[in-house]
């Protein structure tokens, strides 16, 4: 079939692609073109093309900045602790839901456990401050009425860390079960029956059939998480953090926002963003490589 005839038959498909591809070029590749301001002394009057090249001066300035290392450390620290605390939670929940035979209770639990995923970080932030506030938070009121001292959940950096991590579990654990539940339905039922005939208890079945059955999913998710170690959302640390705990709550994304949009240091903020994007890509490719080696499954 000649190209002309092929195109005449399928032009509608290409017509459908015009707007989407334009979108990607303008709004995704446009900013990639703009990344060059990391190497320029950017100002709005001269525009991206007209600003002067400064080479690696921006990078030198960022790498000499104390806050850059602080926010980099915090990003890695919060992500790493999140991995330890938040990663097992959906797995345990999913196994419990899978083991549960009471259908209505299972459905009800799932419905409720998914809800926090649909709540915005701004609202979660508001709720966290009402629950854990030092003066008027519900938890501290309860502690004090039981005769304990109030705990600075939001204004002491170490307690804040706990608040931050638990909030993450609260928000993501329920929704995280979906992938595991999908994988669990794929396990061959006969394996469970055979184990039962052999007299294996339920704990044994979980350890020897259920968990090995979803091991590829666990490993893949773990590797994806490791690959995302350096990328961190903006909203969670921004909304839950505050000035009193900035030593821990200031991360790369909030740093970029602060120096870029609040102080107008566009070049430096772009440098930090570019650093994060490039290192993030390297992490992800490395994670993909490891995943291929370990599980024969490529995540990309």
């Amino acid at each position: 079939m000649g190209y002309a005839r092929y195109f005449r038959r399928n032009w509608q498909m290409y017509a459908l692609l015009v707007l989407p591809i334009t979108f990607f070029i303008v709004f995704k590749y446009g900013p990639m073109y703009g990344v060059q301001i990391a190497f320029k002394d950017f100002n709005f009057f001269r525009g991206i093309g007209g600003s002067e090249w400064i080479g690696l001066d921006g990078f030198r300035e960022v790498f000499a900045n104390h806050d850059f290392y602080l926010t980099l450390r915090n990003t890695l620290m919060l992500n790493f602790l999140d991995l330890i605390v938040s990663f097992p939670a959906p797995l345990i929940l999913a196994i419990m839901l899978f083991e549960l035979k009471v259908v209505w209770f299972k459905k009800l639990s799932q419905t409720i456990l998914y809800i926090p995923h649909f709540i915005s970080w701004v609202i979660i932030g508001g709720i966290v401050y009402q629950l854990f506030g030092t003066q008027s938070g519900m938890v501290n009121n309860l502690l004090m009425s039981l005769g304990f001292d109030s705990v600075p959940f939001l204004s002491d950096k170490n307690y804040w860390l706990i608040t931050y991590l638990l909030t993450g579990v609260w928000q993501s654990a329920g929704w995280g079960t979906i992938l595991y539940l999908a994988a669990l339905t794929g396990i061959n039922k006969e394996l469970f029956e055979a184990a039962e005939v052999d007299g294996a208890g339920r704990l044994k079945r979980i350890l020897h059939i259920t968990i090995p059955g979803i091991k590829p999913t666990i490993v893949t998710l773990l590797i994806i998480n490791l690959g995302n170690m350096i990328s961190i959302g903006f909203e969670r640390p921004f909304v839950i953090g505050n000035l009193a705990v900035r030593e821990y709550s200031d991360v790369l994304s909030t740093f970029v926002y602060r120096i870029g949009l609040e102080s107008g240091q566009y070049t430096l903020a772009t440098v930090v963003g570019l650093f994060q994007a490039v290192v993030g890509l390297i992490f992800l490719l490395a994670a993909n490589y490891i995943s291929k080696k370990l599980t024969d499954e490529s995540i990309l």
């Binding site: 399928n10 509608q12 498909m13 707007l19 989407p20 591809i21 979108f23 990607f24 709004f27 995704k28 590749y29 900013p31 990639m32 073109y33 703009g34 990344v35 950017f42 709005f44 525009g47 083991e99 035979k101 009800l108 639990s109 419905t111 409720i112 456990l113 809800i115 649909f118 915005s120 701004v122 609202i123 508001g126 709720i127 401050y129 009402q130 629950l131 506030g133 008027s136 009121n141 004090m144 009425s145 204004s155 609260w170 654990a173 329920g174 979906i178 539940l181 339920r202 903006f234 505050n242 994304s253 970029v256 926002y257 870029g260 949009l261 903020a269 772009t270 963003g273 994060q276 994007a277």
Partner: protein, 307 residues
């Protein structure tokens, strides 16, 4: 007559079964208790906020409100609903969310349908262009500069155009569409339907569950989205709900910190009003959620299993 041995065996077996049953029951009970606790942990924060929103100032400030409202009243809600700026913000957010979701779905369906045709020439190239953006982005500063250069700052378009297609959702759609038998599309085309016609009359009706799921995701993402509103919107008339709520919470958070340091501050937002606003911004999501839940579980699963 049953021999003694037989009775022994039977009783032994039945105690065995009994033992197994009772450990099974214990196991079930443990699971039910753990899940109940998890479910309560999800709900209690909302219940507390709800209780505070309906409570009087005195019991709130003396810290007596936990899960039930004390001095029940609806003053806070009266204030929220009589705040013209808040109502305007709600109206704007609903309008924004609907417009955003409609545009996103049109774009995602268009791209997803075209790219689900496996033998489309150039498909690999288009997919490559799209997938690259999942792994590398210019970052928020170049995005901000682009938005500013396009004169989109302080317009509704700054909150719509940059997010039109999520490559991830598009891939979920493609993997769903790939499961629709080609024979269906071909028979439609033999009957003289154009490719547009096949899309509208066959593909869209068959994909309703996954389309509902993706609509929910886009809509929730827009409704909850906060970072871009903070970056792109400075005009109070265009404040979406999340930005408005954030500023309110922020103000009271600052005053909370200042109170800790011993500085009295006069303009404190009452706790009940904060709570009522949080409920006000959450309820719309909770209203849509149960209707769409049955779709998204299956939708996400097909995406996850195939993708």
């Amino acid at each position: 007559m049953m021999s003694e041995r037989a009775v022994n065996i039977i009783s032994k077996r039945s105690t065995n079964i009994m033992n197994k049953r009772s450990t099974n029951n214990v196991f079930d009970a443990v699971i039910i208790v753990c899940l109940t606790l998890s479910v309560l942990a999800c709900l209690i924060p909302f219940i507390h906020i709800l209780a505070v929103s309906f409570s009087g100032t005195v019991p709130i400030s003396s810290g007596k409100v936990t899960l039930f409202p004390l001095d029940f009243n609806v003053e806070a809600y009266k204030k929220v609903f009589s705040d013209a700026a808040m109502i305007r913000s709600l109206g704007f957010t609903i309008f924004l969310t609907v417009l955003f979701t409609v545009f996103c779905m049109m774009m995602t369906i268009a791209a997803g349908y075209a790219l689900s045709k496996k033998d489309l020439k150039g498909r690999k190239f288009f997919m490559f262009i799209i997938v690259v953006t999942m792994f590398f982005s210019g970052g928020i500063i170049p995005e901000y500069i682009l938005t500013r250069e396009l004169h989109l700052l302080n317009t509704i378009w700054a909150l719509i155009l940059p997010g039109l297609i999520s490559p991830f959702y598009m891939i979920i759609l493609i993997s769903f569409l790939a499961g629709i038998p080609d024979a269906l599309k071909e028979s439609a085309e033999i009957d003289g339907s154009s490719q547009f016609g096949t899309l509208l009359r066959i593909i869209v009706p068959l994909s309703m569950p996954v389309l509902a799921t993706l609509s929910l995701f886009y809509a929730v993402g827009r409704w909850n989205g906060f970072q871009d509103t903070l970056m792109y919107i400075t005009k109070p008339e265009l404040y979406p709900l999340q930005l408005k709520l954030y500023q309110m919470i922020q103000n009271s958070q600052v005053s909370d910190l200042m109170r800790m340091e011993g500085n009295a501050i006069s303009t404190v937002v009452p706790e009940s009003l904060k709570a009522a606003t949080v409920i006000f911004a959450t309820v719309p999501i909770l209203l849509v959620y149960p209707w769409l839940q049955k779709y998204f579980v299956s939708g996400v699963m097909t995406g996850a299993v195939k993708g």
